[in-house]
Every structure is written in C-alpha cells, then in structure tokens.
C-alpha cells in the first residue's frame, strides 16, 4: 500500500501519517507541529492565566503532556483538538491557582461596538435612513492580488495585534487555524452567541483597517 504523505488530499490519511511519523520520533514533523499550533496555544493560555511568561510555561507543560501522551492518543478527535484539550486542562489547573487573567465577564462582548462608523449611514431624519451615504469600495476585481500582497498581510497582522485579547484569540482560531466554532467555545469557555459576536467584531475591525489601507 502506498504510504500516505502530508500532501495527501485525504485529511484523515494525512493525520494518520503525521501521527505515525511523530510516534517514530520524526523531529521535523514535531517541529512543524509545534510551529503550527504554538501561537494559538499561547493566545488561549493567556485568557486563563495572568501574564505572558506564565502562559508560556503553561504551553510548554502542555507540549510535554502531548509528547508523553502520543502513544496513548487514540484518534477519537483530531490531533489539534486533542492538543488543545491538553492545553486547556493545563491552563485551567494553573488558572484556578491564580486569578483568571481575563475575568469571565470580560469574555462576554459588552456594549455596542458598530461594525462600521454610524456616520457613514443616513440618519433617522433623512430619506432612506440606515442606508449608505456613499457605497463602500468594490474590491472584487483586485481581490485575488490583494490577498496575496505582502503589504496587505502586514496591515492584517497589525490590525489583529491591536484587537482585545479574546477577539484576537477567536479570529486566530477560526480564520487562521481553522478551528470550528464548537472548538473555540470549548477552548475559551464562552457561549456560542459570544463567540459569534467576538468573531464578528474582530473581522469587522480587520476589514476597517484594510479599507483605510486601500483608501490611502
């Protein structure tokens, strides 16, 4: 039987192959795995514990747990879900000993934060209230090149860095790492409704940053 490779179009086969390489002690495979998940793990840990250095310790402890557990992992969830569950357990244990860095109340999106500056819409006493004064730009034709552009990526990364911690974690998990909303809710201990609002606000802010960039 042909050996499945990392480039395999079948994700389940690719994951099985990766797991086999990890169990066989393949260092480049492990290094790539760490590189892929480290930033998200750190972001998640930071919502449970105070301070970046404690969060870094939690992430390292979680990786040691992953290394130890590799042989026991049964593949009932995906590898990344399993890694994340180890991290969350570790972070919760640590977070319970200290005060949680982000109070639970702060994980809920609060107050109104419009996606778009309200001044861009017609007022209640004008004709067509709530409609655009001037249309937003049509990015359609240039969209493909836009997304490839290094400068665009720099703007996107800057905008994400400026987001509040929980919004940052949600947009990273959903749109960079491809976690499902269920996985995000479980990892951050937030409701589905809160997850949706956090993602919406994060994406809306990044869109605004891109719009400012393109309008310049």
């Amino acid at each position: 039987m042909a050996e499945a490779t990392l480039e395999s179009p079948d994700p389940a086969a690719a994951e099985a192959a990766l797991l086999e390489r990890l169990r066989a002690g393949d260092e480049p495979a492990f290094e790539a795995l760490v590189a892929r998940h480290y930033a998200t793990m750190l972001a998640v840990a930071q919502t449970y514990v105070k301070g970046r250095s404690v969060a870094e310790e939690v992430v390292q402890e979680a990786w040691l747990g992953v290394i130890k557990g590799l042989d026991r992992f049964e593949g009932r969830s995906s590898l990344k879900t399993w890694i994340l569950s180890i991290l969350v357990n570790q972070a919760k244990t640590r977070g319970a000993r200290e005060a949680r860095s982000v109070p639970f109340a702060a994980l809920a999106p609060e107050g109104d934060e419009p996606a778009v500056d309200p001044d861009r819409f017609r007022g209640p006493n004008e004709s067509y209230p709530g409609h655009w004064r001037a249309f937003p730009g049509d990015w359609g034709r240039s969209a493909d090149t836009t997304v490839q552009d290094r400068e665009t990526l720099r703007v996107v990364m800057g905008a994400i860095k400026d987001l509040p911690a929980t919004q940052q974690t949600v947009i990273r998990m959903r749109d960079v790492e491809g976690y499902t909303s269920e996985e995000v809710c479980a990892a951050l201990d937030v409701s589905e409704a809160n997850q949706r609002v956090l993602l919406h606000r994060a994406r809306s802010r990044v869109r605004s940053a891109l719009e400012r960039h393109f309008d310049d």
């Binding site: 290094e31 996606a115 249309f135 719009e211």
Partner: protein
C-alpha cells in the same frame, strides 16, 4: 413568492454579515438579507470585502515559538524517542 414589505437597512447588513457568512441566520433573516443584496450594490461589495478580509486573515502564518522554547521541546521529544 410575494415580496415582504419588511426590509433591513445597509447598517443592519454590516452587523449581520458574519452571521450570513457563517450561515447562522434564521431562514427569515436570510431571506431579508439576500433580498437586500439583490438591490444594493454597496452591500454586495461590503459582503465581498468581508470575504476578502477573511481570506487575507487565512494567509497569515502563525508566529513560531522562540528558538529556546523550540529547542527545549525538541529535546523533550528526543528523550521520549530514546526511552
């Protein structure tokens, strides 16, 4: 199908856009949303902008761990393989 007199505004579109993309709108809201897009180029472009934004975010490479952390974890991984 009769057209409902109920309408949503452009401003409401900008607040519902991610629920639309995520397919978490109710079927009634979905119908109102799509009806709006049918006659409003500005909102059609806005939805596109949000999709471009999501695609651009998806191209970010996750930040790698600092070299000393990577080395520490690699050595723990190596020890496991030896044992």
């Amino acid at each position: 199908m009769t057209e409902s007199s109920e309408r949503i505004t452009c401003q409401e579109v900008t607040e519902l856009v991610n629920d639309y993309i995520e397919r978490t709108l109710s079927s009634h809201e979905m119908a109102l949303f799509e009806q709006h897009l049918n006659f409003c180029d500005g909102c059609d472009w806005y939805v596109d902008q949000m999709r471009v934004t999501i695609a651009a975010v998806g191209r970010i490479e996750p930040a790698e761990p600092p070299p000393e952390v990577r080395d520490k974890l690699l050595s723990a991984f190596r020890d496991r393989s030896r044992s």
